[in-house]
Symmetry: C2
Subunit: 327 residues, 2 copies
């Protein structure tokens, strides 16, 4: 029998989960749920679309609910709410607020006897896992995380809020020399500016003051002022032709030493090169949806992160098969 | 209170575990055990050396026993034997025999209420973990493993058995073009010869027939005949000066597709660059020794592999700390 998955929220991530489920024969998409008018949502696989209110009474039809809302306002409310009714998985990525989110989901899920997996994706998610494994293996060492080359939604949105900007796509780009220095094991101390550059492709409104826009971008605190930023003004057609994808990626690198005299250096690197950030995140979520269901079947409950989940739970294969073929 | 670790076997791996324990403040080396005469073994940290026979009655003094023998003959006997008395960790790496080894350790450990972690290191070990995670995230894709550049003990030993050879160091080297093709996401089909080359540094006995030795190496079935192999004859001094280390490393790469039309490509890569193969393996083992003890304290028993162990068990830090700093 398949694991019946529900999706709440049908943006890029929700569509990614819909498509990831088609790649996992033991998962089955039960329904897409939306807070909009269901008839206004056209799903690509033809699965039924229901209003989110229906979730209040569909516990018998859904084994795991995947929450595809945003971390700013949706998930802090939705994940604890639905963890009281369903096994849930979310991709909450506001790092600073993870402790309180975990606590809220944990309380709700424990009370309901459900499993709630939070902060699932690649960062937080697979990058976090690799930070943890590498830190445990090389306790004396240094961590580096590089993001990109890829589109940052948050930075693109920040530029779009500037007066005179119609559209923007912002790429975060690791500085190749910094990555090479880290890979060499030389343990460099790197400033924010030395690690990444930022590149903005901007469609301006007709007659807008381009010099002012460029200056506002480059001096924007937190988002751009600590980076070397390049701004290109392009047409709407160029934007659609050249920048419609959502690629991303990056590397988590830990360098460390072993030996009684700490005389041997080691470099552990985990890298991702992703054509579609939301689809890859969704693929991680699909695997953890399986884990949520299986752990709950074995009696587990409460909030979990990728740190708390034995890798074998992510796979549809048996322990015997995994040991024979992947170990 | 520290976790008290015993080491059985004081070769390269045993020495690596001894040194790894000095990097983990919550671990404490209780004793080194040997099947040789204890007084003949000089340990580098000055810890006491006992005969392996003492292990029959030291259950109150050791929380985890790390088995540092070889996979060919030592571990198939030792790991089940000691899993009946202690939490144990080994680095059993005969891939084909893992299922039977797992079964033997599982039976002994379950009966004794102990945890036995087998096949711990980097391959099997961290490479296996990355194969598993990547396969679960990208169910439609292709796996590639490259080893090196690094010293293969097995291949070095095989050459040493050739008549006229005094010493040999064999390096396994990934073919750069093959690695690049895989990283590009082009999903190449690669033969054994296309993936790795082999390089041998050989000290020959005086008057030995070098042409014959080179030919015997290059045509040796399984070990060399499927590879492009280079043979260099060097002096014993050059061997000691240039080839005394045991570096290794490699990459596990999975490429796969997502999207309803499988239109987006993704590349996941995990790479290691290690100055000391045995010390890195030992560092992985030290982290899993902690996990063995902690899981057993929580009531777990039986054989486990890296697949069965939630990552948080490897860390001395609490769940709160891990979520706050590494997630």
């Amino acid at each position: 029998m398949s694991i019946r998955v529900g999706i709440l929220g049908y943006g890029n991530l929700g569509r990614g989960v819909e498509s990831a489920i088609t790649q996992n024969p033991d998962l089955e998409l039960a329904a897409v749920f939306t807070r909009r008018a269901p008839e206004s949502v056209k799903v690509r696989t033809g699965v039924k679309v229901l209003h989110a209110d229906e979730l209040e009474h569909m516990q018998d039809e859904i084994d795991v609910l995947v929450l595809c809302g945003g971390s700013a306002t949706d998930l802090p409310v939705q994940t604890p709410h639905y963890a009281a009714m369903y096994n849930v998985v979310d991709s909450f990525d506001t790092h600073a607020k993870i402790p309180e989110h975990f606590a809220a989901v944990d309380a709700a899920a424990k009370k309901a006897g459900k499993v709630g997996i939070i902060s699932c994706g690649w960062d937080p998610g697979m990058f976090s896992l690799n930070r943890l494994y590498s830190n445990c293996i090389l306790p004396e060492g240094q961590d580096y995380t590089f993001w990109g080359k890829g589109v940052s939604q948050g930075h693109s949105d920040a530029v779009r809020r500037i007066e005179g900007v119609k559209d923007c796509r912002q790429y975060t780009i690791p500085v190749p020399e910094a990555v090479d220095a880290v890979r060499s094991g030389s343990n460099p101390e790197l400033t924010t500016r030395q690690k990444h550059t930022r590149e903005c492709f901007v469609v301006a409104e007709e007659g807008a003051d381009l010099a002012r826009i460029e200056n506002e971008i480059k001096t924007m605190p937190n988002y751009f002022s600590d980076y070397d930023t390049t701004v290109h003004f392009i047409t709407q057609e160029e934007m659609e032709r050249d920048h419609s994808g959502l690629p991303h990626g990056g590397s988590v690198i830990r360098t460390g030493v072993t030996g009684l005299d700490r005389e041997h250096k080691h470099v552990i690197e985990y890298s991702l090169k992703l054509d579609s950030n939301p689809e890859f995140t969704a693929s991680v979520i699909a695997a953890y949806a399986r884990a949520a269901y299986r752990m709950n079947q074995e009696g587990a409950s409460g909030a979990k992160t990728v740190f708390d989940i034995a890798p074998a739970y992510l796979s549809a294969k048996s322990g015997e098969e995994l040991r024979a073929h992947l170990l």
